[in-house]
């Protein structure tokens, strides 16, 4: 279906979810839902560079934290409404994504991956040493109880939930649009064989930079509202391992070739983790995610979506 139709369906689904959440009147649903929506954005963002182009980013936490700490910085410097902070987070993380790409993408994919891994450690070191945003002591963000939207008083958590829902839908729509466009073909050719792509006229460096910038920007957008959601931000939570591992595991388990995979992976894994964190412990929960990642990478390289496609394909085409 075309862009217009898809957008309408998306907005419709979004409104339905909002209405459902409002009817439930369960704060827990908003909190858990926010986390899952956040993962949808992270997983989709990761997949644009990872699944579409074949370049692995091991430092999603860094880009996420950049968005979060941009918000903390603005909070102390000149408070702005959260949607504006989202844009700022996108710009900051996008620029860093571009810079990292520019320095390392002319070499092998492996170097980019390693550089992103090191980036996370270094950024965390920088933040820990930067007292203005709280350093290792952390930063407190005070947010109001309700927000005034078009005359209605909305609960703050409902507001954040709606914001993250909008971001998730935008991310999904962007991924889908890219997938079906010339850009998507270009990305795929880079993933399949970069040298052949270059010889076929594809400006590989330019496309890779577009992918890293977009991917980084979306991760920054996911991170920007985080300090307001959590109220007290420490470097260890902004740079948490769960962001890095989940943004890789969710697309790889869900399926990396399209926009549906990350969505499926985030909802499934995200819900699983919400249940596990409450019933078992958060460390065991992460262990399970790690084991699932290794298992899926070995056994089902095309993820759940790939498995579904195999199963549904008519017999004679197998």
């Amino acid at each position: 279906m075309g862009v217009v139709k898809f957008s309408t369906v998306t907005i419709g689904v979004g409104l339905l979810v909002l209405a459902f959440a409002h009817w439930l009147k369960l704060d827990y649903f908003y909190f858990a839902g926010y986390t899952i929506l956040q993962f949808i954005v992270l997983a989709t963002a990761w997949n644009i560079l990872g699944g579409y182009c074949g370049y692995v980013n091991f430092g999603s936490a860094a880009f996420f934290a950049l968005g979060a700490y941009s918000s903390v910085f603005m909070y102390k410097f000149y408070p702005l409404p959260v949607p504006v902070l989202v844009v700022i987070g996108a710009v900051v993380s996008g620029i860093v994504g571009f810079g990292m790409g520019y320095l390392t993408l002319r070499l092998r994919g492996a170097f980019f991956a390693i550089a992103t891994l090191a980036l996370a450690v270094v950024l965390q070191t920088l933040v820990v040493n930067w007292d203005y945003v709280g350093g290792s002591r952390g930063a407190y963000i005070v947010s109001p109880d309700t927000v005034d939207i078009a005359g209605f008083q909305i609960n703050y958590i409902e507001y954040l939930f709606g914001l993250m829902l909008a971001l998730a839908l935008i991310a999904l729509a962007t991924a889908r649009t890219i997938e079906r466009s010339q850009l998507g073909f270009g990305f795929g050719s880079i993933r399949d064989d970069e040298i052949a792509a270059e010889a076929s006229g594809v400006p590989t460096l330019r496309l890779k930079l577009i992918a890293t910038t977009l991917s980084g920007a979306f991760m920054g957008m996911a991170g920007a509202p985080f300090p307001y959601y959590i109220g007290y931000l420490q470097p260890s939570s902004a740079f948490g391992l769960e962001y890095t591992v989940n943004s890789i595991a969710m697309p790889m388990i869900g399926g990396t070739t399209g926009w549906v995979g990350p969505l499926v992976g985030s909802i499934l894994l995200g819900s699983l983790q919400q249940i596990a964190t409450v019933t078992i412990s958060s460390a065991v929960n992460l262990l399970i995610v790690g084991l699932l990642l290794v298992a899926f990478v070995i056994i089902a390289p095309n993820g759940l979506v790939g498995l579904a496609q195999e199963y549904l394909r008519p017999r004679r085409q197998r």
Partner: protein, 244 residues
Amino acid sequence: MTPLLHVDNISKRFYGFVALDGIDLEVHPGERLGLIGPNGSGKSTLVNCICGTLQNEDGTVYFDGKSLDGLAAHQRTRRGLARSFQLPRPFHSMTLADNLRIPLLYTVHARMGPLRSVGDLDAHCLELLDMFGLAKKAKQLPRHLTQVEMRKLELARAMAAEPKLLIADESMAGLSHSEIDDILALLMRLNERGISIILIEHIMSAVMKFSQRLAVLVSGKKVADGKPEDVVRDPEVVRAYLGQ
């Protein structure tokens, strides 16, 4: 007549190993040039330097009168210089039609201006596949192709960029006689359309049948360049192939 391709004294070193040593070469519009040489003589390195996959240290490559210095491989392709790879490198996750769509989107259709309709693009892909006898397999993946079909796909993809010069790098290795004739006929047809071709091959019968001119590379140096019948009788060429 100004040559279409003018390789001017290019050299390439890999940390002390001299792969190319001052190579001069010319290809004229519409010409069929054969390029031969023992394994390791630098043929593929030369192709990579001409096409921009590798950067040469000294010398310049001129195409259509303009220097290609500093241009990336994709920019050279857009200017009309295409190559096929010795070991076929198809886009393995895409159908044959989509394999051709990539060069079409990024060269030909880019030249013609903004988005052509999807229908136009599809028709163009099929037309091209048909010319190479691959139309029936348009919706299949490259892993379902036979050896000779893979080679044809390589050539088709290079042709999709509508080049002025096509470099065919060992497209016939390991094929049967009839398959070799098949590919040769294809290349002749392309040449009849006005496309200059550099044929890099080990199969002498094919090279002799095809080339208007023959160049020989040995240990990074060009040792002969002229009419095929003259070149194969050149004592230095004979010595290079049969040893000292």
